[in-house]
Every structure is written in C-alpha cells, then in structure tokens.
C-alpha cells in the first residue's frame, strides 16, 4: 500500500486519527489485564489507565470525525475501519506478553505521550490543544506508574530483572516509529498544529535513560527500527485485536442498550 499523502485539508483528520488509534489500541491491550493483574491494586491501576486512554481515544476520534466531515462518528471510526485504515504505532498493537512486557511497552509509550501532549497543548488548533491539556494531566500519573514498575522489576529479583531486560530488548525496535517523520507529521508541524515527531526524541531519551539506569536495565544499542503503523501497514496482531474489539458493533450495527 502506498504512503498516504496528507493534504492541508485532511491533516487534522489524519493527525487526530493517529492520536485516537494509539490510545484506542493500547487501551484495549491494557484492558486485557482486567481481572488478571498480578495483584489487586495493579489490576485496578491498569484498568484505570486503559479507561483514561479510551477516553482520550474517544475525544481524538471525535475531532477526527468532525474534521473529516463525511458523516462518520467516533464509533464508526473505531468499529468500522479495517486494519489497513488504522494509523496506530506498531508498538501499541503487540500482544500484551507477560507483565514485564506490558510495563515496558507502557513506559515507552507514556514517556512519549506525556511529552507529546505537553507540546500539543500549545497547538494552534484549539481542538488539539484542549485535548492535550486534559490528557497531559492524566499522562503524568501514567508515566510515574510505569516508571515505578520499571524500577521495581528491573532492580528486583533475578527473574523480574531478566524478564524486563528481555521485554526491553524485544520492544526496542518498535520505539523508533514514535519519532519518525512522514508527510502527515511534516504538514501538521509546518501548520503549527503539532510538534514534529523527531523533536520529541531527546526528551524521551532523557527520561528513558534515567529510568533504565535506576532499573539497572541496559539500553539496547540497536538503532534499526520497525515502521509502518502510521501508513496502515500493521503486524499480524492488529487484525486479531480488531476482530475481538469490533465484533459486537459489526454483528449488531446500531444496537443500543
């Protein structure tokens, strides 16, 4: 599939779709832990964070739906698009793995999202600025939560350390996509509605290096990164997730309770 070309008319739609899809898919992955958390407090925490992400997703997809102006609602975007139409990072669609894997993925995303939302709260586009001003407050809680667990697991037992180091090693190749530029990102940045993705990397590096050091976890040296999610080229895992997430809406379109 060819890379989507972003015109000024659809840049807000495309950009809001990215924000919404990242949060929708990651929120869904986190919600898979509901009832399965390692301890009660953590079960509750993961469900709460999933809920915040779902709320942010709803808000972003409402912005996208309005920008598109094609009569689709946020729910239509969530439940009636195909895999190739999703614009989320590959990082967020990967299966939840073990608890160390879930935490490492969450930390990498939280450290990105908190800086993205902080910058986005100064967007020239009021709809994105207000979305971000709200999300950044919640993200600050999220990144503290995942960073605390990074340190607990990394600087914990031999077993928890090994599991977290494995998770970090496996996930690392998916972290670069957060900072890659493409036509949508460039168009959004030049219009002043969003920060350029590469500009967030330095701040992300600073918090990641700090937390990895406290967690006694080595930072992988690999700088070759997977990409494709922003252009609709996904891993095999997204289709399975969507099948589960979308089946009720597709089986009973328009149903209410």
């Amino acid at each position: 599939m060819a890379e989507q070309q972003a015109s000024p008319e659809n840049v807000l739609f495309e950009y809001a779709l990215r924000l919404g899809d990242d949060r929708l898919i990651l929120g869904h992955r986190l919600s898979e832990w509901c009832g399965h958390g390692p301890i009660l407090e953590e079960d509750i925490a993961l469900a709460n964070i999933a809920l915040d992400l779902l709320g942010g997703a709803t808000h972003a997809l409402e912005v996208a739906a309005a920008a598109e102006g094609a009569g689709r609602s946020a729910d239509d975007l969530a439940y009636f698009r195909e895999t190739v139409e999703f614009r989320n990072l590959l990082l967020v669609e990967l299966p939840r793995g073990d608890f160390a894997y879930t935490i490492a993925r969450q930390f990498f995303f939280d450290a990105y999202s908190v800086h993205l939302m902080d910058a986005l709260s100064k967007s020239k586009e009021p709809q994105l600025a207000e979305l971000a001003a709200k999300a950044v407050k919640e993200d600050r809680y999220h990144v503290r939560h995942s960073a605390e667990w990074m340190v607990k697991l990394g600087d914990g037992t031999d077993e928890s350390h090994a599991r977290l180091q494995n998770a970090v090693n496996d996930l690392w190749r998916y972290t670069g996509e957060m900072f890659l530029s493409d036509p949508t990102d460039e168009a959004a940045a030049s219009a002043g509605i969003a920060p350029a993705a590469p500009a967030l990397k330095e701040k992300w590096n600073a918090v990641v290096d700090d937390v990895l050091a406290r967690a006694t976890i080595s930072r992988p040296a690999n700088e070759v990164f997977m990409r494709g999610g922003r252009a609709g080229r996904h891993t095999e895992h997204l289709g399975h997730l969507l099948a589960e997430m979308q089946i009720v809406a597709r089986s009973h379109p328009g149903a209410e309770w």
Partner: protein
C-alpha cells in the same frame, strides 16, 4: 459564575453517581447553564477523559430539568479549561472527608515528570491519624487513590489532585 440561580438549583439535585455527596455543580462538571432561544443549554466537562459516570450525569441533568418543566434541554461537552480538583471548595472537601474520602490537596507547580511520588501524610478520614500511606495512585474510580491507615488499620480512598 453561572447567573441563572433557578436552573443552578435544579442542577444541584444531580449527584455524582460514584460520589453521591457531591453534586455536579460543586464537582465542577457543570460549566454553564443558560437559555438559548427557548432551549436550556448545559455545558459539562469530563473529570477524567474516560470517566464512565459522565454519561449518567448527563442523563440525570436532562431528567432533572425536564421534571422541573424544561422540556427542551441540550447537554454540550466542553473541554477547556480542563477540569481540575483546584475548583473544589472547602465545603465540598469537608463533605468528601465526612463521606470517608480524603479530599484533594491544592496542586503546586511541579515539573512535567515527577518519578517519585510525594509522600504526603494524609489524615485518615476515619480516625484523623496522619500515620497513613498511599498504596496506589489508582483506585476504585478514575479520580481516587488507595490508602491505608496504620493507626486504625482501615483502607481508605483519597481524591487525586489533578
């Protein structure tokens, strides 16, 4: 400030379903209520992005106004300024405490990322002791954290500051 006292009084009858000692006005969820060409328009803002109580509050707002004779009601969502616990009055905080929830503290300016939680000796809403500890920053609802009182050995909720 919301000018229409009568409408405001009606809205004060709607409580947060998860914290029934606070109404939607003092919680800060209702941002404005006004009449626009014969229709009552209520602006509401979510507390946390995904708070599932907001939908219930919206329905109850419409119901409360209808049962007071206002048939044409529209609830609009607004997002700016983002909701904050700093809007909560001392009176509302006292109600929370009496209900068994330690109230939020007023936020101070701090860096974007604070990796280590501030250790605040919250007063236990049951026995008043400050010998308490926060167990988790995430609790029974999006807006609450879990704490434990080492004095009366009672777990308790606290309202998160945001």
């Amino acid at each position: 400030m919301i000018a229409n006292a009568e409408l405001l009084d009606i809205l004060r009858s709607v409580k947060d379903p998860e914290i029934p000692v606070l109404d939607v006005v003092e919680l800060g969820v209702v941002r404005d209520v006004r009449e626009e060409s014969g229709k009552i328009v209520v602006d509401v803002t979510p507390t946390y992005s995904g708070c599932p109580a907001l939908g219930v509050m919206e329905e109850e707002i419409v119901e409360a106004l209808r049962s007071n004779g206002y048939a044409d009601v529209e609830v609009r969502k607004v997002y700016s300024p983002a909701w904050t616990t700093d809007w909560m009055s001392a009176e509302s905080k006292a109600k929370l405490k009496a209900y068994g929830i330690a109230p939020p503290h007023v936020r101070e300016a701090e860096p974007l990322i604070v990796l280590e939680r501030a250790r605040r000796a919250l007063a236990c809403p049951y026995c008043g002791s400050s010998n308490t500890e926060e167990k988790s920053e995430f609790g029974s609802t999006a807006c609450k954290a879990i704490n434990f009182c080492n004095n009366c050995h009672q777990p308790f909720d606290s309202f998160k500051s945001i």
